[in-house]
């Protein structure tokens, strides 16, 4: 365990050294790059995934395709994809962002679809029977009930883009993955561990954000029901 404490000490030292907080290789810059790649991809993936998921989930058609697509996307090794893009196109950001987006769509799509499919048919029937139009049924009834699963899809996608952005550093992009890649190249394990530690913090923050979202956006009626079952 000595090893562990030494490591923590080394990371603490690295983090506190002021060089880490300035300049292109500084934590703020790398963090910003990482969040930029992730954020943009997540945004577009959410746009696509939510729209398709809501459409397919509400109408109920195309479910098999959605599930197959999600399975297929999960099977793609991100390293292979990123490296291939780099090999063909060079250090161009757009293709990589497109890849990040593409990989993030399936979890959002699948979970949104399943969330909508899981809505109690009686609630849907009652809503139609009371005179809600299809649009109203979707937004006033189905989405609020499906919200926990939709948020889960978004969280999974967020984790996915953060991880893929990390790997993008391998082929020369910025972001927090740079610390790991550069550290490995220079045999500077403090750098590697420091970068990994920051990534762990990012992971924890992503978790907290979505936990908070869940508590504040989802109706207490749905949360309580889930707690009971």
């Amino acid at each position: 365990m000595n090893n562990f404490f030494n490591q923590v000490q080394a990371v603490a030292d690295w983090l506190s050294s002021s060089a880490q907080w300035h300049g292109e290789d500084g934590i703020p810059h790398r963090l910003l790059q990482h969040l930029a790649y992730s954020g943009i991809s997540l945004f577009f993936a959410a746009l696509i995934g939510l729209s398709l998921g809501l459409l397919i989930g509400h109408t109920g058609r195309g479910g098999f395709l959605v599930v197959s697509l999600a399975n297929f996307a999960r099977a793609i090794p991100t390293l292979g994809l990123v490296v291939l893009i780099f090999n063909q196109v060079g250090l161009v950001l757009t293709p990589v962002v497109i890849a990040l987006t593409a990989l993030a769509v399936p979890p959002i799509l699948l979970n949104t679809f399943e969330g909508l499919r899981g809505v109690d048919p009686d609630a849907r029937d009652a809503a139609r029977g009371m005179g809600m139009t299809g649009w109203a049924v979707l937004w006033k009834v189905e989405v609020p009930i499906a919200l926990p699963l939709i948020l889960l899809g978004l969280r999974t996608a967020a984790v996915q883009v953060v991880a893929t952005a990390t790997i993008a550093a391998y082929v020369g992009f910025g972001g927090l993955g740079r610390y790991i890649v550069d550290g490995l190249a220079r045999n500077d394990y403090d750098l590697v561990i420091g970068g990994s530690a920051v990534l762990v913090v990012v992971a924890i923050v992503v978790q907290l954000v979505f936990t908070a979202l869940r508590r504040f956006i989802v109706s207490p009626g749905i949360l309580g029901q889930a707690r009971r079952s």
């Binding site: 090893n3 562990f4 490591q7 399975n71 297929f72 999960r74 099977a75 793609i76 090794p77 991100t78 390293l79 292979g80 994809l81 490296v83 291939l84 780099f86 090999n87 063909q88 060079g90 969280r155 984790v159 953060v162 991880a163 990390t166 790997i167 391998y170 082929v171 993955g177 790991i180 890649v181 490995l184 394990y189 590697v192 561990i193 970068g195 990994s196 990534l199 762990v200 992971a203 924890i204 992503v206 978790q207 936990t211 079952s229």
Partner: protein, 223 residues
């Protein structure tokens, strides 16, 4: 499609020439990917069972599992390098942790899917707690648990490649090597092969599930 460098995308002969080498890396890859899933399953069962018994512990366990899942694989591998060096365990232990983070919630959900009337009927018929678990609750939980195994297996197979950055990547070797010598054939073959292996594993698991749950088949439902 030919890159700016002039190298064609795939040189098909290469595959034929390196058949046995590719097979070797494939074996390593699958071993490094699937053993963790197996370990994960074995470990997640008791943990999941305990969590479904002691509900209070579950939120903490779930939060930990979710957080581990959120850590990028590269970072997790690096953290373990310090303790396990540059060998397979450095990749397999984190992959086991990832599998756990998927499987524990699935075991808990699977057990939760056993309806209360069924549980009570079993107790009333004289099933002791252990027998009820093994003969009634776990079999019913199988579809949901296997759904988790599928996700864990597919993710695992595609994550192993990342391990190549510390030399333990199975087929990932070709991805990195192909990049270094600008030979896209290797990259594409490895990537496609990984996808195929993942989908094949997924299919086998689906078949396994169908075999294990003949009653679901009889009802005409697909799990």
């Amino acid at each position: 499609m030919i890159a700016a460098s002039g190298e064609p995308l795939v040189r098909w002969y290469w595959i034929g020439d390196h058949g046995s080498q590719i097979w070797g890396y494939t074996q390593t890859h699958m071993r490094v990917a699937l053993l963790p899933v197996l370990f994960g399953l074995v470990i997640s069962l008791p943990i999941g069972i305990l969590c479904s018994r002691f509900n209070k512990a579950y939120p903490a366990v779930l939060a930990t599992a979710n957080t581990i899942y959120a850590i990028p694989s590269l970072a997790l591998f690096m953290i373990f390098v310090q303790y396990t060096g540059l060998n397979e365990s450095t990749v397999m232990i984190p992959l086991t942790l990832y599998s756990l983070s998927v499987l524990i919630p699935n075991v808990v959900d699977g057990l939760a899917s056993v309806s209360d009337p069924v549980r009570q009927a079993a107790t009333a018929m004289g099933f002791g707690p252990l027998r009820r678990l093994l003969q009634v609750e776990l079999p019913i939980a199988v579809p949901i648990v296997i759904a988790g195994v599928r996700i864990a297996a597919v993710s695992s197979i595609s994550l192993v490649a990342v391990g190549e950055l510390i030399g333990q990547g199975g087929l990932g070797y070709y991805i990195v090597n192909g990049n270094q010598i600008n030979f896209p054939t290797e990259i594409i073959v490895a990537t496609v092969l990984i996808v195929l292996l993942a989908l094949l594993t997924d299919t086998i698991l689906v078949i396994l599930q169908r075999l294990l749950t003949p009653w679901a088949r009889a009802r005409g439902r697909t799990a």
